[in-house]
């Protein structure tokens, strides 16, 4: 990749008289196909990839060792105490589920809103959703205490003729997260079928042809198939949209339907969903910025895409900040002494350090994105994403641990400290996440080729007659845009 050329690619100038070019570098259908599929089929696996996957697989191994130790000794190996019965494990669960939400927002909600820029990043974000939900699913599973009866979470017939309690939010969680995982997987796979066919048709080795061919299900790019395929994709997007909003709402019910001060608030569902999208976009950006550089995809994942993501981070970050303020206001205005104590305790009690870390990362940092210079500077935005990731983990930690550690009865208050097992299990879950990400970028098309092709101006069979293809700026009729007369 020629460096000076990449530097010159800037499609972040807001010129309302021109449609934003979503794909730069003079690409056509052929070059898009080559750029994306060669990463998987032709290019030699970089040595850095082997080094990276060794490291992440090692971390994953550590996580499983920690889990094995936990199973042998019980949840006492964590720093849990009385009254803090939920701590890092549930924090990690909420953190990872939240990360997943950006993928569904990009793939489903932006699809329904006809945001064409989503096509360059949706595959990546959807993959991340699935990997994040896999990481999330581990934590409640290992937290149950008696892991040998973990199947009681599901309504399975058993020898005690016993059924789960469907009025418990913890059971709602099982269904919400399970459905979310399944539907995300179906949506991701549906979107990938045409691209798997591309890989099948370009693969040279027998093994690759057979594997990609099997996965492509005999896709022949037929328009009679495309017709039903597009309908299926639209319906799945329509199904995934309320689903993603429900998932973090249900996760928030775990807290909101309890009576712990600081948890028992009606604001939780929307506040959790906004926070989830906020953290998820930061995680997408954290991985996307290095990936686009290493694989030379700057022409497909352009600065315009990243800038749009930063705008969403700014919007959702502001919602999160507003929610923090609302919580405090209601704690005071509601006049419940336990509730107001819980919030004063959060900001000035023993966990004040965590609270102010959260506020700095989640409320202050995203506000910098009001500046166009900052929101188009790759290095700065990457650092900001890291801040947001940290801040959103602390948000869940603050909510869970600060509320539990000082509840109604002062004589039972206790301070929670994580043990090395807590810490290594969490760090290990990053290993699992990045191992899956590395496998994904090595073996599957990380850009939705077929979808990217549809948003290129040359894809329009009526180009010249009709409005141009771009994003919202493209809504300007071409004769006005080009200053000519209508054709």
């Amino acid at each position: 990749m020629m460096k000076p050329q990449v530097e010159a690619w800037d499609n972040t100038k807001d010129d309302p008289t021109k449609p934003v070019e979503l794909i730069l570098g003079g690409n056509d259908f052929t070059s898009i196909t080559e750029k994306v599929s060669d990463i998987v089929l032709e290019r030699k696996t970089p040595r850095a990839w082997y080094i990276a996957i060794t490291a992440t697989a090692g971390l994953t191994g550590i996580m499983f060792l920690m889990i094995a130790y936990l199973f042998m000794r019980g949840v006492g190996v964590w720093g849990l105490n009385n009254p803090v019965g939920w701590a890092w494990d549930i924090t990690n669960f909420v953190f990872w589920v939240g990360i997943g939400h950006a993928g569904t927002l990009i793939s489903a909600i932006l699809f329904l809103l006809r945001q064409k820029w989503r096509t360059s990043i949706n595959r990546f974000a959807e993959a991340m959703t699935i990997f994040a939900v896999i990481c999330a699913g581990i934590f409640p599973g290992i937290h149950v205490g008696r892991v040998w009866v973990v199947y009681w979470l599901f309504p399975l017939p058993n020898n005690q003729a016993m059924w789960p309690n469907f009025r418990s939010p913890l059971l709602w969680d099982v269904f919400a997260v399970g459905t979310y995982m399944t539907v995300s997987l179906l949506f991701w796979y549906t979107g990938m079928i045409p691209d798997l066919a591309t890989l099948r048709d370009r693969a040279k080795g027998r093994v690759k042809q057979a594997v990609y061919g099997a996965l492509a299900l005999g896709w022949r790019s037929s328009h009679r198939h495309w017709h039903r395929y597009e309908k299926a994709y639209l319906l799945l997007a329509g199904l995934a949209t309320p689903l993603v909003l429900s998932v973090h709402s249900v996760v928030s019910f775990d807290f909101a339907t309890s009576q712990i001060p600081g948890w028992h608030t009606a604001i939780f569902p929307p506040y959790f969903v906004a926070g989830a999208v906020f953290s998820g976009f930061a995680m997408v950006g954290t991985i996307l910025i290095p990936a686009r550089k290493w694989f030379g995809l700057e022409a497909i994942i352009t600065k315009h895409h990243l800038e749009n993501m930063n705008k969403i981070i700014l919007a959702t970050g502001s919602i999160v900040g507003f929610a923090y303020a609302t919580e405090f206001f209601i704690a005071w205005y509601g006049g419940n002494p336990n509730e107001s104590f819980a919030f004063i305790n959060r900001a000035f009690g023993p966990y004040a350090w965590a609270y102010w870390t959260m506020v700095t990362c989640n409320v202050v940092t995203p506000q910098l994105f009001w500046s166009k210079k900052i929101r188009t500077n790759l290095t700065v935005m990457w650092i900001m994403y890291i801040f947001v990731n940290i801040g959103m983990w602390f948000e869940r930690f603050v909510i869970i641990v600060s509320s539990l550690s000082r509840d109604f009865l002062p004589s039972s208050w206790a301070y929670y400290r994580p043990t090395p097992v807590d810490i290594m299990t969490f760090v290990g879950s990053f290993g699992l996440f990045f191992t899956l990400v590395l496998l994904f970028i090595r073996f599957l098309p990380m850009i939705a080729m077929a979808e990217v092709k549809t948003v290129m101006p040359i894809a329009d069979a009526h180009s010249g007659e009709r409005r141009s293809v771009g994003d919202y700026h493209g809504d300007i009729p071409s004769h006005i845009r080009d200053g000519g007369s209508p054709k």
Partner: protein
């Protein structure tokens, strides 16, 4: 893969185009010529092709609706039977079947069943998976998933006549007219 098999019966005639607009104009002509067993293949869905090819709406949404209703009813019945009949749970004197508390699971299963209906409904209507097809054995056709646009008229079409159809396809302005042969097992 091995070279295109040439020994089978004629499956179809095919021509290809470089740009979506030529492709769509060709499809309009094939539609107007009255062919029924024909198809258009392109690496991405070209906007406006449903009209150009005269494709009617799919019944997929109805399949999804049935899936959704099934999920909704199954979730409601399951919760009622498990918590109110087979193993009655009395928790703080609350009703055994309280819709607000049972709704989250109903919602999730409605979405889950609809999504499965949508996913496998699309497979069923599209005849997927089908790994064995004359077009997939054709080397030239491989670019249909990459960067070229194909119009294919099948030999089983009542209007198909190998000479006249060949001339018709050549008149559409595509690159070459090529025969697609049935796959013959060795």
């Amino acid at each position: 893969m091995s070279a295109t098999p040439r020994n089978g019966a004629l499956h179809a005639l095919m021509t290809d185009f470089e740009s979506p607009s030529q492709f769509m104009q060709a499809c309009v002509k094939v539609r107007d010529a009255g062919y029924r067993h024909w198809d258009a293949h392109s690496p991405f869905p070209v906007h406006g092709m449903d009209d150009a090819m005269g494709i009617r709406g799919t019944r997929l949404p109805w399949i999804v609706l049935v899936g959704g209703i099934t999920g909704f009813s199954a979730a409601l019945l399951m919760q009622w039977w498990m918590n109110a009949v087979d193993y009655p749970y009395v928790i703080s004197g609350k009703p055994l079947l309280g819709l607000p508390a049972n709704f989250p699971v109903i919602f999730e299963l409605t979405v889950l069943f609809s999504a499965f209906a949508c996913f496998f409904g699309m497979w069923g209507l599209n005849g997927m998976p089908r790994w064995h097809h004359p077009l997939l054995a054709n080397d030239r056709f491989r670019r249909a998933s990459q960067d070229r646009f194909y119009v294919v008229i099948e030999a089983r079409d009542p209007k198909f006549d190998s000479e006249r159809t060949r001339a018709f396809l050549a008149s559409l302005g595509g690159a070459v007219v090529e025969e697609v042969r049935e796959i013959v097992e060795a």
